[in-house]
Symmetry: C2
Subunit: 542 residues, 2 copies
């Protein structure tokens, strides 16, 4: 039996129209290269975004064409988020932290016809311009300097377009709106293509009370780059709810973020653990030195993800009245697939359990199915102990990669995405990531979780950061090696660390045999610990 409901197609254009009508006076704030703040209203945003769509159509951009962006977080990038789909085209965010050769390869693979980029990123663009020819290169004068006449000027394009007369092209909800390449550690990067439908559904799930809990009264600071899994989807949620948004531009140092938070206190922020780690260290050092330069935004919620969140970090922020909440996902999952929150059945949990739960990857969000697959392809029970690969399924989970044949190492025969993350799930549905498949340490036939070790080591007061890798061992096959960065002015011996780990419940055989103290950990383009580099480092030196 069919329902009598209208068959209205889900669409980002509906979000944009609604935001223009309902939230005209709300603010969008961008930090410019000179660190000043530029304020736009949603009314400005609405007109500029429709002007962008109109300008792209005038340039000959046709439905389905890829329009790339190479930009920091700011209002013009947000205009691209809605303006490119409003033209019927597909926004392809290029990750400015990748090597030029990789950027060129990705732009070619995606068949990008147009590039919109920040003027301050022209030096990067020039390094891969020879590898892929964009038909049009549009420069956003982020610094305020005049745009070189060899390029199109973003502001001039908008100024000469007709936002009022613009009509959206017809659109189905399965049409693509954005694409993002995964930073694969093996093989070539692969494109994930989001649709109106997947983005609308992901946004509705994201704004729900137990995920971002996003409301019109919020002020959001996304420290997550807009070129990384669409800044976790939060820009779409902001436009849907009409919240205020503050963009940090290119200024991501702890001091800069603390300045910005003091000036424009956010109620919700999003970022990777390493950013929050340096932020709290910088803030506490300033406090110790009696500085009154910064105020932390008390009551702020923060979603942290991208890599495991150490409990020590959550506790450090809680002391200042800020609650970190772990989210888990990946480019392939839009990305929010699980989130840690205080479920109804944990309302009476004590402090210890609250913190340990907050440090888990969380519970599956609405619309996403989870299963934990053991090595023999059976479903692992949700007992908090049995380990297996997380596999997921849902309307905002990718079912393939752009122009790449579906392979058994990424998708199961029955249509689930193999995430490559290894985890347990418990009776309450909490996912605890024990490792990336390739990061597990197999010692004497037993698995050791490098993530558990890292979190425990980072819980030691002398440690700023730690990463654990597997190294070959003639007797045990593999053994853990810990790379440790000390806090300034602190010191700890490997023996003291071992005592600390034993006191934290680790078995003797799980303790790393070797600890190497280094000045900084190498990171991937998305800010995660780059273990591949550590393994190479180890191979060269041994």
């Amino acid at each position: 039996m069919l329902s009598t409901m209208m068959d209205t197609q889900l669409s980002l254009n509906q979000f944009l129209e609604r935001a223009g009508q309902l939230f005209a006076t709300q603010e969008i704030i961008s930090r410019l290269p000179d660190k000043s703040l530029r304020v736009h209203t949603y009314a400005d945003y609405y007109r500029r975004t429709r002007a962008l769509a109109s300008a792209l159509c005038k340039l000959g951009v046709a439905p389905g064409d890829r329009v790339a962006t190479l930009s920091w977080n700011h209002h013009a990038h947000l205009e691209c988020y809605f303006g490119i789909p409003a033209a019927g085209a597909v926004m392809h965010t290029l990750n400015l932290r990748l090597a030029p050769a990789e950027l060129g390869w990705i732009a070619s693979d995606a068949h990008d016809r147009v590039l919109i980029l920040d003027d301050i990123l022209l030096p990067l663009y020039r390094q891969f311009a020879d590898l892929h020819r964009f038909e049009h290169v549009i420069v956003f004068p982020f610094s305020g300097a005049p745009v070189d006449p060899e390029f199109l000027d973003y502001e001039q394009l908008l100024a000469t377009a007709d936002p009022d007369g613009y009509a959206y092209p017809p659109q189905l909800e399965t049409d693509a709106v954005a694409m993002c390449y995964t930073s694969g550690t093996t093989g070539r990067p692969k494109g994930v293509v989001y649709s109106h439908r997947s983005t609308v559904l992901h946004t509705l799930v994201g704004v729900s009370g137990d995920a971002w809990g996003l409301r019109s009264q919020d002020c959001v600071l996304p420290v997550t780059p807009m070129f990384h899994a669409n800044s976790w989807g939060v820009p779409y949620g902001v436009i849907l709810t009409g919240a205020k948004i503050v963009f940090a531009g290119p200024h991501l140092h702890a001091e800069d973020l603390l300045d910005l938070m003091t000036l424009q206190p956010p109620t919700l922020s999003l970022g990777v653990p390493t950013i929050w780690m340096t932020l709290i260290q910088t803030y506490e050092a300033a406090q110790a030195a009696q500085s009154t330069r910064w105020r932390l935004p008390v009551g702020m919620r923060s979603m942290v993800g991208g890599s495991a969140v150490p409990e020590a970090l959550i506790r450090a922020f809680a002391k200042h009245g800020i609650w970190l909440q772990q989210g888990w996902g990946m480019t392939e999952t839009s990305p929010l697939a699980a989130v840690s929150y205080l479920k109804g059945d944990l309302q009476h949990a004590g402090e210890t359990e609250r913190f340990s739960r907050a440090a888990m990857a969380g519970v599956p969000v609405p619309l996403v199915d989870f299963r934990i697959r053991a090595d023999d392809d059976s479903d692992a029970p949700w007992d908090g102990k049995t380990v297996g690969e997380i596999q997921v399924r849902g309307p905002f989970i990718t079912g393939s990669y752009y122009e790449v044949p579906v392979t058994a190492d990424k998708f199961t025969a029955d249509g689930w995405l193999r995430t490559g993350d290894v985890a347990t799930m418990d009776e309450l549905g909490f996912v605890r990531i024990t490792d990336r498949t390739k990061d597990l340490i197999k010692s004497g036939g037993e698995w050791i979780s490098s993530v558990d070790l890292e979190n425990a080591i980072m819980g030691h007061p002398a440690v700023a950061e730690a990463a654990v890798i597997a190294i070959p061992d003639p007797k045990w096959d593999e053994r853990p090696l810990a790379y440790v960065v000390l806090r300034a002015g602190h010191t700890v011996s490997p023996a003291q660390l071992a005592t600390h780990l034993l006191a934290n419940g680790f078995a003797k055989w799980q303790i790393p045999d070797r600890v190497e103290f280094i000045d900084a950990l190498p990171r991937t383009a998305t800010g995660k610990f780059y273990k591949l580099k550590l393994r190479e480092m180890f191979a060269q030196n041994n």
Copy 2:
């Protein structure tokens, strides 16, 4: 360009599976006919609901078949909400406040094959049993008494079913899950048929922060009947978020609700204004008499709708730390289409504006388009002044009625639903209902809003309730007549009411010429003022 996302179909079955996995220990509480409370866990609920689906299939219920319910609010009705769709069938909620002849007609029109009803409603069923033959009648032993062997016993069916072995039939998201007849004041009732898709989308919008703001930690008391627009959709939101739910059963008197709220304090409740009106009057009378029997749940949010919410009612609750929020919608809109909340641009609004905004119908929810159509079919500007009919469009708005041809009085040529409600919209997107089309008073060529008059009259301290109708007038065409119910022990003269209205900004010509004091206002089956009856009353007496 197509996206790479999975084409997973939206489904209530996914909600049910997720709830069974994630929220096993959460509670569902029902008040039984003897006023005792029965507690189920979500784990119980999950097994019982799948058992119901399995039992229905065994009875021969096929995909698309209609299964009717005739029930109060309780756990078994909630089992029907998910168990009937889980069998591939369509839940048809019968409104137990309708006349037996109407119930029989509606069951026939819908081709209901099965009826599930409360044992305490058998006397009502027997009054329309001759008008429509159900193939199976399943009796839920709500009172605890044994079920008459001429019927199927709900508990016995569940006890002999196999929930573990049950497999959901294949399903598309456009398949029907529920149907509900509108209580039209003109013509026959008409069926609205909801789908998996419309229900999932409506639920996601409903739980969002600025609508119900529903979270796993909430305790929800839906005073709205489950046979009326699916209790405004909130049972679906509860199962999605894993919140606790408390059902009042057949006990809807103010004293009973206050008892229940004292025993199981809700954090979110939903109801029509008249329920809250008698509730606060009863509570305040008890307070004045020094009774300590009841505690109001301080901090509770309450969504109020179904008819206009007087500002005086919102202020009365605010005094006790409870915030009423108006929602607007109808059976045809799933129903939540607009909701009043403190938008970001109202954060600094003063108390007067906050209260006046709370008493408005609110702003359009995500995914729903609004327009205000003037008499000449032009779009009225959102200026807070220009009046027109609200027309809506969206994926959970009905585009037709069940087995009824689409007519121009209900749907526009370009596919919008004509709601019949007359309103203004202002610059901030707030809808202010001025009247049902048929309730407008046209006096001397000018429209008078009966709703505005009612709200203002109910703002007078001596008035409990008021309804205003149009009466024929030889000179002015129509003039307003006010029916007024006084609070116990209070008195007010028509002249004093006129002074009160003038002080509230009404023009002299807008003041009702006549005021009739009566003991109680007639109500429709859904608790709204029954103006049709008032007009008949007037016609008979004049």
